[in-house]
């Protein structure tokens, strides 16, 4: 176990970035304004080598968030206990300030599809997801944050709003929530909803972390805008505006810049983090 948990018991309400190995030297040299780092858990489940060695160095100086992308919490089948054990192992070793996963499924019948697939918002899904989160929090031994998805379509069988669904899950399991503001904007555009109404309905007091990422623009069969949550560019201006709207209501939160595809050099990424600093600084004291 790395003896770092006493240093960083929680994520600071400051900018963080999704960690990429190519930025290792830049971060050690001067990470300003970035104060914390998030890793995709599944990239650090090897037995050794450079990935874990880099984390050993960085964990001395930065709070970490372990963000799972492969647990398939919304899956219809039982959770993969081997994978859950790997997550526990990583969290026990790294002692991150935060641990989170997605409201999505990605594995079916032992096939991992490497995408965050959507769920219908029904009582049956609610019960299943809540049971899975109970199991995760018990095995990993810490509170989990659950992230709102980006949606490209809707299920006709859904009986409740996503905000209500997430609130119910948090009430039943005691998990916290991770609010991805870009995902709100993407889903609201794609499903013709009001993004501010989503923020208004969201239980902001349960939010432990906010995500910001870039999206691509496409069109559906009828020429309607279809945004794709690609994490491959700068955060769009209307997403920054929606962040301001959110922060006014939530108060300061840890803000993460996600840039996972076409990863830029460090100056471009830290420029995005600067915008996050500015968003926090302009909040009323």
């Amino acid at each position: 176990m790395l003896d770092t948990s006493h240093k960083f018991p929680e994520l600071p309400a400051a900018p963080g970035v999704g960690y990429k190995p190519q930025h290792f030297a830049d971060i050690l040299d001067n990470a300003t304004p970035v104060e914390w780092l998030e890793i995709h858990a599944e990239n650090y489940m090897g037995a050794g080598g450079r990935p874990l060695a880099q984390l050993r160095h960085l964990a001395e100086r930065f709070a970490f968030s372990v963000h799972g992308v492969g647990l398939s919490i919304g899956g219809e089948m039982p959770l993969d206990e081997d994978h859950l054990a790997r997550l526990k192992h990583l969290c026990d070793w790294l002692q991150p300030a935060s641990f989170s996963e997605h409201l999505a499924w990605s594995t079916h019948d032992a096939h991992f599809l490497n995408d965050l697939l959507p769920l219908p918002y029904t009582d049956a899904t609610l019960t299943r997801v809540a049971n899975h989160i109970d199991q995760v929090q018990e095995v990993v031994g810490r509170q989990m944050l659950l992230e709102n998805p980006s949606s490209y379509l809707a299920f006709e069988e859904s009986t409740m709003e996503e905000t209500e669904f997430l609130h119910q899950i948090a009430k039943r399991t005691g998990c916290g929530l991770l609010l991805d503001v870009n995902n709100i904007f993407v889903s609201a555009t794609n499903l013709k909803l009001d993004p501010r109404a989503y923020v208004d309905a969201f239980p902001l007091h349960l939010v432990g972390e906010i995500h910001l990422g870039g999206h691509d623009e496409d069109e559906d069969d009828h020429g309607a805008p279809l945004l794709i949550d690609s994490h491959g560019r700068e955060v769009a201006d209307p997403v920054w505006t929606l962040l301001d709207y959110t922060l006014e209501r939530s108060g300061p939160k840890p803000l993460l810049i996600e840039w996972d595809a076409d990863v830029p050099d460090w100056p471009a990424l830290s420029a995005e983090a600067m915008r996050a600093t500015a968003a926090l600084e302009k909040m009323p004291a």
Partner: protein, 253 residues
């Protein structure tokens, strides 16, 4: 209409399947091409994972062909675990049975080498012995010595010139691969695994050592291949790359 994950999953991996009913654009229209976003995400992200793991195969057959191979492979063998750094175990075997590429006989073994480099990269860390430990042994102890190797140490023997092919496709100005069988020893001194070419007798000795045979037996086996075999050269390579992690001088337990 309930959309089961089985139905969703089947339609995701088979673009010829219709989009499941019960999915909409949120405004009452069928989801239609919106479903393709998920199909694209799955196919492109898994293809990208394979490209990262098999850059030399991609170079050998070209980007377009690699995408075609990936698109068949990822549907026949989706990842079994949610860790993309492990995805692609099936690539060598898949290439062996893939008719359009069977005329390029060396592809499966080159894929095995790329696989070995990746496994080595993620292997557990270990502490090498001090070379002085080996030098301090008496001749009798030396003859009976057996070794543990770093988990990142991988030997691959092939009827194809896999080392030459790998070097030719990764290093500028490298010479054409010879027409010969080659054995490769992957060693990872710290974090960066590298394939080292082993001559046949050295490969025979290394295989014996990795099976846990005594140094003198490994040496004898190599000398049978080539009476001029130099054990010191192999030991120098192993010590120089931190590959030996423990020496046993007693009887095997």
């Amino acid at each position: 209409m309930t959309v089961s994950q089985l139905k969703f999953h089947t339609a995701l991996l088979d673009p010829n399947q219709p989009v499941p009913e019960g999915l909409s654009d949120g405004q009452g229209q069928p989801a239609g091409s919106r479903f393709a976003v998920y199909r694209n995400n799955v196919a492109s992200s898994l293809t990208e994972a394979l490209e990262i793991s098999f850059p030399v195969i991609q170079k050998l057959i070209g980007e377009e062909n690699f995408k075609k191979v990936s698109s068949v492979l990822l549907r026949q063998h989706p990842p079994k675990v949610p860790m993309l750094s492990q995805y692609g175990d099936e690539m060598p075997g898949f290439l062996e049975g893939f008719k359009p590429l069977e005329h390029i006989g060396y592809l499966p073994d080159v894929a095995r080498l790329e696989q070995a480099l990746r496994v080595s990269y993620h292997a557990a860390d270990s502490t090498p012995i001090d070379p002085a430990e080996l030098q301090a042994l008496t001749p009798e102890e030396m003859a009976a010595a057996r070794f543990d190797f770093a988990p990142s140490t991988i030997l691959q023997r092939s009827p194809w010139p896999i080392h030459g092919i790998w070097v030719f496709n990764t290093e500028d100005g490298a010479s054409q691969p010879p027409k010969a069988a080659q054995s490769v020893l992957v060693l990872r001194p710290e974090f960066d695994p590298m394939p080292h070419l082993l001559a046949e007798p050295a490969a025979v000795a290394m295989a014996a050592l990795m099976r846990g045979e005594a140094l003198s037996d490994a040496n004898d086996a190599a000398l049978k291949e080539d009476p001029s075999f130099d054990l010191g050269q192999l030991l120098g390579l192993l010590l120089g790359h931190g590959a030996i992690t423990r020496i046993f001088t007693g009887e095997p337990t």
